[in-house]
Symmetry: C2
Subunit: 302 residues, 2 copies
Amino acid sequence: MPGEYQYPFELRHLAYFREVARQLHFRKAAETLAVAQPALSRSVAQLEAALGVDLLNRTRRKVELTPVGRAFLERIEPLLRGLAAVPADIQALAGGQAGQVRVAFTGLAMATVLPGILREFNRRYPGIRVELNESPTSAQLNSLKTGEIACGFFHPDAATTPGLATRLLLQENNGVLLPADHPQARAKRLRLRDLAGTAFVMFPRAHNPGFYDRVLAAFRAAGVAPRIADEVWPRANAIGLVRAGLGATFMTPSEAKQLPGEVVFRPLDGPTPESRLVLGWRKEASPDPALGAFLVVAGSAG
Amino acid sequence: MPGEYQYPFELRHLAYFREVARQLHFRKAAETLAVAQPALSRSVAQLEAALGVDLLNRTRRKVELTPVGRAFLERIEPLLRGLAAVPADIQALAGGQAGQVRVAFTGLAMATVLPGILREFNRRYPGIRVELNESPTSAQLNSLKTGEIACGFFHPDAATTPGLATRLLLQENNGVLLPADHPQARAKRLRLRDLAGTAFVMFPRAHNPGFYDRVLAAFRAAGVAPRIADEVWPRANAIGLVRAGLGATFMTPSEAKQLPGEVVFRPLDGPTPESRLVLGWRKEASPDPALGAFLVVAGSAG
DNA sequence: GATATTGATACTCACCAGGCATCACAGGAC
DNA sequence: GTCCTGTGATGCCTGGTGAGTATCAATATC
């Protein structure tokens, strides 16, 4: 039956036998093990009795392994070594000194807060590996629920998912990113209605319906019919399309700071959609220590 | 310090925890383990205390693994499975139902008793693998001393090596194996002096000086000067050389029975060297059980 | 043959794993 | 709300056993 206690020995027996097998000398092995020699003799004898097998050949003057004893030793040694390493590894894991965090992010996060957080995190927790995956908000919410990711940088919708904790990292009104040769590229400040007729590069609505709808609402408020040219993902490609002159796109000032030339960023006066970036994770009784470490760093950097 | 007892837990703790982690239910796990629930609770609590880490998250209504607990479980499961398999494997080994025997042999053995022994051994001990190596007598004696082989079929010299047990398997006077077109091939019986001038194929003297010298002694007794054409090893090649007409060679009747045509075997009257084949192994306090099984079969077949 | 070395044995003790009884708490039923 | 049931933890006691001390028995060395 699986699960039933099935070991005719304890680790003590195995470790004692191993030491005797190494030294082939009960007294010396007993000293190494910090135990009295009779206790060692009995423990090994018990092990042999439990297995129903002779492991050692004792004359009064010398001890040697039987062939079966040698085979037994070879079998248990790697297992004992494996078990010996477990406590330290687990403690490192629990102390947040080892392990991994799976993190999802959107393009905005990568263009703003994420690089700094990662740099700081790697400095403070070199033992923890961070697994990064760009992923739209909607997919992140799913992955959080299934446990596929430990936390995610995403754009919060109106409805907060229960069981999820979030921390606001960024909240900015969007401006527009224009090709350098756009007619309005000279203007220092713009309003949405100045951009009637300009094609916009968006992302698929399902990825973040909240923001998508705020964009449409801003157009409506400005009395302009939106012209959506392409929907593209991931985010970096949208910037590429703007750079290629295919259209404009919405962008926060923080993100725009990172961009090299050939495109111009202009803030928008009047109605303009707002972007919010949050870091979200599951509320849990015993959070993953590696995640805990990540949250600390992300919090102090935010 | 290597060798010191370094485990903050016993197998019991690990097996108990594993069962609780599987069922996520202390009472059910306790039943499976045939132990009372309080004992199980305390054992797991001890394990957590020893590691200084929370492995389980207990509310009064449900139990779940912490992330660290999951990592711990994943670490110990393969090790526990490995240890669980050890006793049965070792007992099979000790019972001679598994394992391997390294066996060396000379050409004479392979041409006479060895195939039958192997057939019978494989039938009776299908779990034991036999590792075979053709090897001259002198090399076998060395390999026996070093433990490189468990037993060997070889040709005993006058001096028996101490610590070695042997069993005589074959003792026959040699005849000669002649090419089919040899002048004396028609004669039913021969004496050594009839073969004066015939070239003989031998083996390097160092491989079995005892027999080599008995050959020379037989020539001397017959008043014939030996003519050694080639020295070749392994044995099968000598027969090939005879078949090719390059010379004659000494051979026992048992071995000659196995040979197909193009060569003729003739017994020798008068002085003729004697071949002895023995099976030899180290005398040991605790012999390898796989070897023991092999010796039993080889004994009943001999 | 005397001596030293070494593993096994006898005896005792202290510890602790395990059992039983019970508690404390959380959910569900109504 | 109240009761009931199911759950893991706690308190207490006992039997088993691992470990220590003293000693024995056997063998190799001189």
